[in-house]
Assembly symmetry: C2
Homo-oligomer: 207 residues x 2
DNA sequence: TGGTGTGAACGGCTTCACAGCT
DNA sequence: AGCTGTGAAGCCGTTCACACCA
């Protein structure tokens, strides 16, 4: 199934809906209206309806959305209906925090391997994973790991990205504060933490 | 000085330009054209010119932008021309990583205080800062710290946000994976890490 | 000539109003 | 009656073309 003309912004919001729908289903809620969901998430009801309508609409008029249905549909759209494996590169402060991060589980995402260039870290365990040498990045293909998370210093990031792509990785989450050049077929999302904090003072009225 | 009708997207890009301009000035580069800058950052030259033109335009036609000028103008626009202090709440894995994060320095941002609810952490040093009890959040006002960083579990996030705002904080960077309700005068930016990773499989063509 | 600055065209996302089901 | 689904309107941001200036 392929969907055309879906705004990227819609894709970004789907995981939010998904996570909430999962929580609701855990709470034995069977059905939710766009209005209820919207108030829980801080968005507008029509935004939710529009977003979901891109994929055919799977609510019931007059009633709302079946929660189980919502979960399974969004999982399928986001291709999260099978466990997705990612490799983490860089087990420094940030990398270790990502490994320990509990939030991935709700999306059936698994960090299945961790790499570092520092020989002192290689072989040690971190959160149940044995840290491997970056030289072994090439083994990702046969291990069917097709996503990468970059948590290395910025001057190493481009090389790591190149290696990940050589190893068959098709999507990268990049925490290094720099632009990374990749072939068009590869998707990169950069989370540049300092950037966001740097924006904040702009919005603070000066005294 | 106040500027109207500036897209939020432009504000998000300014720190990128700023960081690069600083790097260039450190490398003794005196002048840079929008084209050069664009190729370094993976954006288009028009985008850069348009973004800067919202603030009056401070380039030289036929030449480019004076690097020092670029730095001081963007610093002023983003109100980063004085050192800005932020308080971190939550010194777990992610919080500790943020404390150790080197990237803030380039924006004259300082994490000036760290708090946790766990008595075992309170009093201990983390990256040169003594961890304080969250009960002391109220002291932020007199210490002139007006930004907060939330790195606590999601069920504690809203309460912490409320406390931060009560303590006079006007802008919040939130790492908890949930929507936080705040008065309109307060700016919140949420970085929901798992969200980004959850988007990636959508862009990976299934085999 | 070369590169900035900017009004205007374009495109994409959000908002809206209401048609259509239950 | 109530809530979803959706074409249309409106808005915001990006792209473009070109005027302007060194």
């Amino acid at each position: 199934m392929r969907y055309y003309r879906v705004p990227d912004e819609t894709i970004k919001r789907l995981p939010i809906y998904l996570r909430r729908a999962i929580r609701l289903s855990e709470g034995q809620v069977k059905c939710v209206s766009s209005k209820e969901l919207a108030s829980l998430l801080g968005v507008t009801p029509w935004q939710i309806r529009k977003d979901l309508s891109y994929f055919g609409g799977f609510g019931t008029r007059g009633v709302g959305y079946n929660v189980e249905n919502l979960v399974s549909h969004i999982r399928e759209i986001l291709r999260l209906d099978v466990v997705r494996k990612a490799a983490l590169v860089g087990v420094g402060n940030l990398g270790s925090a990502i490994l320990a991060f509990p939030g991935f589980r709700s999306y059936w995402l698994e960090i299945a391997a961790a790499f570092d260039i520092d020989k002192r870290k290689v072989g040690k365990k971190r959160n149940g994973l044995v840290v491997e040498d970056v030289a072994l990045l090439g083994t990702l293909k046969e291990r069917r790991i097709d996503m990468g998370i970059i948590a290395v210093p910025d001057d190493a990031a481009q090389n790591i990205a190149d290696d990940l792509i050589k190893a068959g990785v098709k999507a990268i989450l990049n925490f290094a504060p720099r632009y990374i050049e990749v072939p068009k077929r590869v998707k990169v999302i950069t989370i540049d933490i300092a950037l966001y904090l740097a924006c904040l003072p702009y919005y603070v009225p000066s005294k």
